[in-house]
Amino acid sequence: MGERGVRSDASALLSREQLLDLYRWMRLTRTLEERLVALYRQTKVVGGLFRSLGQEADSVGSAYALERRDILSPLIRNLGSMLVKGATPVEILKQYMAKADSPTRGRELNIHFGDTERGFIGQISPLGDMVCVMAGVTLTFKIRHEDRVGLVYVGDGATSTGAFHEGINFAAVQRCPLVVVVENNGYAYSTPVSRQTAAKQFVDKAIGYGIPGEQADGNDVLAVYDVTKRAVDRARRGDGVSLIELMTYRRKGHAEHDNQSYVPDGEIERWERENDPITRYVARLTGEFGFMSGDIEGVDERVRRVVDDATDVAERSELPQALDALVGVYADPPAARPLWFREGSSGVVDVHERADGWGTFKTSNETH
C-alpha cells in the first residue's frame, strides 16, 4: 500500500516527552531482559527465558498506538508491549521466579499473564489461539458499542495454525475492531519463514480475508507506531480488522537454551551491527529530534534504578505454599480436596498392623 510520503504520519504529532517515552520503554525492555539473563544464570529463574532482543521496537511502537482502554494480547516476545500497557518490572521478575505473589501465583511461566483492567490478556502456549480469543473480546466491544480496540500479536509461525485462520476470518466477517500484528522475525523456533509458508509475504494473506494489510519496518519504532495507529484508527472508526506485518529479526534463540545452530553464519551479527532498533532510534533522537546524549543517559540511569529496585523486591518474595496448588480451578468449589495419601495419617498402612506374611516372599531361585 505504498503511500509513504503522501500521508501525514501520526508520529509527527508525538510530543518530545512521548518520543523519549518510546525510548524509555525499549530501554526498559532490554535492561529488564538483561537482568533476567543474570538471574537465569544464577538459577533464580525457574523455567526458560525468552528474549526479545532486537524486537523491542515492534512491541513498544505497536502498543504505544493504543489507548489505555484498549486491550492487547502479547506473545512471548512482547515484553515491551506489556510494559507499555502497565505491567511492572517487579511483576515480570516475580513471574519468572515463580513467586507466591507473582501475577499468576506461581501457576504460569514467564510473561504469560494478563490484567483486563490494565488492558492485556495473557497468551497460552498453543499458538494462534489468542486471535480467536481477541476476536471475542473485540466482538464484545462491538456489541456494547464501546469505543475500544483490540490488538493481537502472532509470529510468522502462528500464521500456519488453524486458530489464526479461523480467528481472523471470524473477526473479519463480524467487522470486529481488531488489529492483527504478524511479527515476522525470521524464525519459528528453528524453522525459517521459507519452511512456514509459500506466500511471498505474510501481508498478502490479508487479501484472502477481505481486509487491508500493510507491511512496515519492525525495527523502526516510529514506523511501527504509524502503521499500527492507522489500523487502530480504522478499527475505532468501525471499519473492522486490519493485518500488519512487521519485519524484524530474532537475535536470540527461541529460548535461552537454544544455540541457534540453524542460523547462517554472520546473520545475527549483521542485524546487530546494522539494524538494532534501539541504536537506530537513539541516532534519530540525537539527530533529527535534537535530544542531547545526556537525555538518553538519564533515561538509561533511571531504568537501571527501576530494574535494580524491582529485583530487590522480587527476590525477597517467597515461593507459593504447596496447598495453593488446589485453589481456584473453579469458582465453585473454590478449592480441590487433597488426595487421601496427602492427608495426615489416614492411610491403610498407617492404621493396620503389618501382616505376618509381609517381607517373607522368596523367588524360586533363592534357596537356602
Binding site: 499468576t104 501457576r107 504460569e108 504469560h112 499473564f113 494478563g114 483486563t116 490478556i121 495473557g122 497460552i124 502456549s125 498453543p126 489461539d129 486471535v131 480467536c132 480469543v133 481477541m134 476476536a135 471475542g136 473480546v137 473485540t138 466482538l139 464484545t140 466491544f141 462491538k142 456489541i143 488453524g162 486458530a163 479461523e166 480467528g167 476470518n169 471470524f170 473477526a171 466477517v173 463480524q174 481456584g328 480451578v329 473453579y330 469458582a331 465453585d332 468449589p333 480441590a336
Partner: protein, 325 residues
C-alpha cells in the same frame, strides 16, 4: 401446563436466560436465520437480534475462542456445536485455553458449549458420538448430560449462570422422544447433583443420558420376570460427579452396575468403578460391572449400530449376572 419436549425445554431455557440477562448471547453455525440444524435455537434471532444470535462461519476453534474472549469481558456466551462430534475441532481451545483460564490467569470464563450428542439414530461415525469423557478428564470444565426434559431446562439455566465453562450434552435421540411438564417459575437444577430415577433394593444402576431410559425399561422387565428391585441413579452431572449419591445407592443395594453409551475403555464407568472401590469396597457384595458401547467407531447400518451400543437386553443380562453373585 402442557408438556414440552426435551428439545423445546432447552429452547425455553435459552429464551428465558436471554430475557433475564442481556449478556447472554448465542453463537454457532446456522443457529440464527435457519434456527439450528435441529431447530433448538429457532425463533431466537427474531426475538433477540443478530448481535446476540450470531451465525458463524464453520469455525469451531474461532467460536469457542471468541466465546472465551467475550466471557472475559462479561458476556455469557452459549456456543452451539452443530453436532457435538465437531467439538473435537475445538479441543485445544477448550482444554488448553478455557479450562485453565481461571486457574492460570484468574480470568473467568463463564460460557456454555452445547450440542446434539449420542447415537441410536443411525447417524454414523460423525453424528453419534459421546465425547464427554475427555472433558470430564480436564480440570476446569464442568460437564452435564441430562436425560429428562425438565432437567434439560433446569440444567441449561444453571449452566448459563455458572461462573465457569459448562459443556452441555444434549441427547438427540431424546430431543423429541421425551416430554415433561415444566416446573413453574425459575426452574434451575443445580450442577453436581444426581437424581434418583427409580427406587429399588436389590441392585443399583448408575447411568446418564439415553441409557437412563434403557435402564428404566430393563428395570421393569427385571421386576416382572425376576422379582428384582432395581434402583436407578441418573447422574445428570458428569463433572463434578455426585459422589454422595453414588455412595448412598451403592451402600444401600450393595451391588452396582454402571451403564453408558460411550465406548468402554477410558469411559466414565471406569472412573465411577474406581470411586466405588475407594469409598465403598466394604459394602459391596459383588464386583462392579459395566455395560457400555463396544470400543469401535459408531457404524451406520442399524444391525451394526444396535450391536455396538448398549441395549435393554444387555442391561437385563448384566443385572441378572450381578444379582446372582
Amino acid at each position: 401446563m402442557a408438556e414440552v419436549t426435551y428439545l423445546e425445554a432447552i429452547r425455553e431455557a435459552l429464551f428465558e436466560e436471554m430475557e433475564r440477562d442481556v449478556n447472554v448471547m448465542c453463537l454457532g453455525e446456522d443457529i440464527g436465520a435457519y434456527g439450528g440444524a435441529f431447530k433448538v435455537t429457532d425463533g431466537l434471532l427474531d426475538k433477540f437480534g443478530e448481535t446476540r444470535v450470531i451465525d458463524s462461519p464453520i469455525s469451531e476453534i474461532a467460536i469457542v475462542g471468541a466465546a472465551a474472549g467475550a466471557a472475559h469481558m462479561g458476556m455469557r456466551p452459549v456456543v452451539e456445536m452443530q453436532f457435538i462430534d465437531f467439538v473435537a475441532n475445538a479441543y485445544d481451545m477448550l482444554t488448553n485455553y478455557v479450562a485453565t483460564a481461571r486457574y492460570r490467569a484468574m480470568l473467568p470464563c463463564p460460557m456454555v458449549v452445547r450440542g446434539p450428542s449420542g447415537g441410536y439414530v443411525r447417524g454414523g461415525p460423525f453424528h453419534s458420538q459421546n465425547p464427554e469423557a475427555g472433558f470430564v478428564h480436564t480440570p476446569g470444565l464442568k460437564v452435564v448430560y441430562p436425560s429428562t426434559a425438565d432437567d434439560a431446562k433446569g440444567l441449561m439455566k444453571a449452566a448459563i449462570r455458572d461462573e465457569d465453562c459448562v459443556l452441555f450434552f444434549e441427547h438427540k435421540y431424546l430431543y423429541r422422544r421425551v416430554k415433561a411438564e415444566m416446573p413453574a417459575g425459575d426452574h434451575v437444577v443445580p450442577i453436581g447433583k444426581a437424581r434418583l430415577a427409580r427406587e429399588g433394593r436389590d441392585l443399583s444402576i448408575i447411568t446418564y443420558a439415553a441409557t437412563v431410559w434403557k435402564s428404566l425399561e430393563a428395570a421393569e422387565q427385571l421386576e416382572k420376570e425376576d422379582g428384582l428391585s432395581v434402583e436407578i441413579l441418573d447422574l445428570r452431572s458428569l463433572a463434578p460427579l455426585d459422589d454422595e449419591a453414588i455412595q448412598a445407592t451403592v451402600r444401600k443395594t450393595n451391588r452396582a452396575l454402571i451403564v453408558h453409551e460411550d465406548t468402554r475403555t477410558g469411559g466414565l464407568a471406569g472412573e465411577i468403578t474406581a470411586r466405588i472401590n475407594e469409598s465403598s469396597f466394604a459394602w459391596l457384595d459383588a464386583p462392579v460391572l459395566r455395560v457400555t458401547a463396544h470400543d469401535v467407531p459408531l457404524p451406520y447400518a442399524p444391525s451394526l449400530e444396535d450391536y455396538v451400543l448398549p441395549q435393554v437386553a444387555d442391561i437385563v443380562r448384566a443385572a441378572r449376572t450381578l444379582a446372582a453373585y
